[in-house]
């Protein structure tokens, strides 16, 4: 029994909110009073049938305009799994919200309207899913009822999408026909598509295997806080609080502390009134070290055999998220990477990705809202990143505008400049 985090993406009219509404409704996760309230809202909109999209569009403006503006999080469970859905808007001007919704998820649902097939938005969403390292994509070919449940039409879209994704880093692409408005093949298989032998969407989501690649990487433990109780019982206690972001940590194991570059051993692993022999990725613990060292927030405890590089320059894919300012070379920002915040500069904008045809335009003069591009980042002090493909939590960062304190970009580390790396202990 585990937790699967899913993101959805789709264009305005392909029925994304309806699909989620259907998943919640048919898996009996919609409460009676919620149903009464959306029935009321549906008739106020002059609709004859209940509009399931109202289950997810929560803001006043969203209901008025009939679109999703911001990410909404939904929760449901079946006997096999618990699910968190980050439901994101599909409009081109909300690409940044989609990136936000997708950043914490393991699997993406991409919707297309069976009448329209693969369109520009499908290509954009698929590109973003691939960039964000979501290795499992499910293409939901929705509104099959409007193409008379045609197998030929489905196969056509299937072939087109396979061709589109063949060059992308998506390990697992699944293509399912369905009709959210009637519920066909969402939770139950239904009877209109006997030619389709695959599972329903929910059945697929319950069974799909989503291993975390960071589990097998070297230890990465960014220190959040130093715990010093200063009471008699724990007089000399000094624990480093944090969450294991990659790999695992064991008592007695040799580790390196960055940026000091000093090797030491793990003396103890504590988790609220108990001591553990080991802890794996995702666990929130406190580590005590064998030696007294200068370790604080922003330090990282790493595998001594596979340490992280102390990088002062790297390339990254950046999604620009600011409406008010654009990105130009040599502008300065705060970078937040794990628990470390340092000053940085975007040295150059190397290219801009056209997310509709996957071509990269070299050396654009700027990135504007919703643009995605490859940049070179130069840092005042080193950070300890991994390539994003190795570990999402230690390969991701945000840029913060020092003037407005807004988050202006999301970044994924691609190549770390080894020349720039400061030698451990140096």
């Amino acid at each position: 029994m585990d937790l699967l985090r899913i993101s959805t993406a789709g264009s305005v009219d392909d029925g994304k909110s309806t699909l989620i509404g259907r998943l919640l409704y048919d898996s009996k996760q919609v409460f009676e009073d919620t149903m009464v309230s959306i029935q009321r809202a549906s008739s106020a909109q002059g609709l004859d049938e209940v509009n399931l999209a109202l289950l997810t569009d929560g803001l006043r403006a969203e209901r008025e305009q009939g679109i999703t503006i911001d990410v909404a999080y939904r929760y449901f469970a079946t006997p096999k799994r618990k699910f968190i859905i980050a439901d994101s808007p599909g409009h081109v001007q909300y690409t940044r919200n989609m990136v936000t919704g997708a950043s914490t998820t393991q699997l993406a649902l991409i919707l297309v309207d069976a009448r329209k097939g693969v369109i520009e938005q499908t290509r954009r969403h698929t590109a973003i899913v691939s960039l964000l390292g979501i290795r499992h994509a499910v293409l939901c070919v929705n509104k099959m009822d409007l193409v008379d449940w045609s197998e030929a039409r489905f196969r056509e879209i299937e072939a087109e999408y396979r061709a589109l994704t063949s060059g992308l880093h998506l390990d697992n692409v699944t293509i399912l026909p369905m009709a959210a408005v009637t519920g066909e093949n969402v939770v139950e298989r239904g009877e209109h598509m006997p030619w389709f032998s695959g599972p329903s969407l929910l059945h697929f989501l319950e069974e799909v295997d989503v291993p975390d690649p960071a589990r097998h990487a070297g230890l990465r433990f960014p220190v959040q806080n130093v715990l010093r109780p200063q009471v008699d019982e724990f007089h000399d206690y000094r624990g480093y609080a944090g969450t294991v972001m990659a790999g695992e940590v064991r008592v007695g194991e040799e580790v390196t502390v960055l940026p000091l570059g000093v090797r030491t051993r793990v003396a103890a692993i504590d988790r609220f009134q108990e001591s553990l022999p080991a802890a794996g990725s995702g666990e929130a613990i406190a580590i005590r070290l064998a030696d007294d060292l200068d370790v604080g927030r922003g330090s990282m405890i790493v595998d001594a055999a596979q340490p992280a590089l102390m990088a002062k320059r790297f390339t990254a894919d950046l999604c620009w998220m600011s409406e008010s300012v654009t990105l130009r070379p040599r502008q300065q920002y705060w970078i937040k990477h794990t628990t470390r915040r340092v000053r940085c500069m975007v040295e150059s904008i190397d290219d801009r990705l056209d997310v509709t045809n996957y071509e990269r335009q070299a050396a654009p003069s700027e990135l504007v809202l919703n643009d995605i591009g490859r940049v070179t980042v130069k840092l005042l002090e080193p950070i300890f990143p991994d390539p994003y493909t190795v570990s999402r939590d230690t390969g991701s960062f945000i840029l913060i505008d020092p003037n407005t304190r807004h988050t202006v970009a999301a970044g994924m580390v691609r190549e770390i400049d080894a020349e720039s790396a400061v030698r451990a202990g140096g």
Partner: protein, 308 residues
């Protein structure tokens, strides 16, 4: 699949993950803010928050005070519980009082049989945040509670007027929370964002955490108003057609006595409560919060003003 099967099949599901995520958030708050405060009402969600705070910083004490926004219309059992729990933890309690603000003439009490101090909590909360120079307020709100809350960030920025701007929220990616702010602005932080009501109860059961007695079935004098069971109290006068009667009830949420309704229940033990929540077909706010029933967007409107 019945809901009871669901209950057993998913027992303990994901609680470890949720706990670790919440502890990570608490630790980020302690590191990124100078004067955080934990909002504690004595309700189940803030009880879980306190437990997570205790765990996040053990063996040290959690490095922030707790604050209760007190409408003066409290369940006595909850106030007794609040004071006892705060003392056990050796924490500092700040009380932001609605009746004191009314007495000072800063707020005007609503009149009539349906008067409530619900909306008066917002200015009192904002005033207390300003007066104490708190720069982060950790709250127990969950995204599954309500549709406007489903849109809320974990680190939710408030401008110097304490306002929430749902259309212009800071993007929040991976586990990278941006706590940067200047004096006068603050952050609301919601470590339980990804928890459901059932997760909260399962966690309370797993951790054997004490909760106020009104969460369990008891005999109480109640009356029916707008389809909800309200407790008879000095704060809530009956209308002429309303009649008081005794019933076996419990509370699903704990708030002000004037806007928190009871539900009929015979659940006297924690496992009965968990089973009841797992099989209910009505949301907690729909069943027990009169303050959400004003309009479709009642919560969004109050949140924009600076409500919890």
């Amino acid at each position: 699949m019945t809901s009871l099967e669901l209950l057993h099949a998913t027992a303990d599901a994901g609680l470890e993950d949720l706990e670790a995520e919440s502890i990570y958030i608490m630790r980020e708050v302690a590191a990124e803010f100078e004067r955080p405060v934990l909002l504690f009402s004595g309700g189940k969600d803030s009880i879980v928050l306190l437990r997570l705070a205790e765990k996040a910083f053990w063996p040290a004490k959690f490095p922030f005070p707790v604050m209760h926004v007190d409408t003066g219309h409290n369940f006595p059992e909850v106030i007794e519980f609040r004071d006892r729990r705060v003392e056990q933890l050796g924490a500092t309690l700040v009380v932001a009082s609605v009746p004191a603000a009314i007495e000072r003439g800063e707020l005007v009490e609503e009149r009539g049989p349906r008067a409530s101090r619900n909306r008066l909590q917002t200015p009192v909360l904002l005033e207390a945040i300003a007066a104490n120079q708190f720069d982060a307020a950790i709250g127990g709100a969950r995204r599954d509670e309500e549709k406007a809350r489903a849109k809320e960030r974990v680190f939710s920025f408030r401008d110097e007027f304490g306002q929430w701007d749902p259309r212009n929220q800071r993007p929040e990616l991976w586990h990278l929370f941006n706590g940067m702010h200047v004096r006068g602005e603050h952050m609301r932080v919601f470590p339980l964002s990804n928890w459901t009501e059932l997760d909260v109860w399962r966690y309370i059961e797993r951790e054997c955490i004490e909760v106020p007695s009104i969460y369990f079935a008891h005999e109480r004098e109640v009356f029916e108003r707008d389809g909800m069971l309200m407790a008879v109290s000095e704060y809530l006068p009956l209308l002429p057609q309303e009649k008081a009667f005794m019933a076996s009830v419990r509370y699903r949420t704990v708030g002000d006595m004037t806007c928190t309704a009871a539900v009929r229940s015979t659940a006297t033990a924690l496992q009965d409560v968990v089973a009841e929540i797992a099989t209910t077909r009505i949301t907690e706010r729909g069943q027990s919060r009169a303050d959400d029933q004003f309009s479709e967007a009642a919560m969004e409107d109050r949140k924009r003003e600076g409500y919890f």
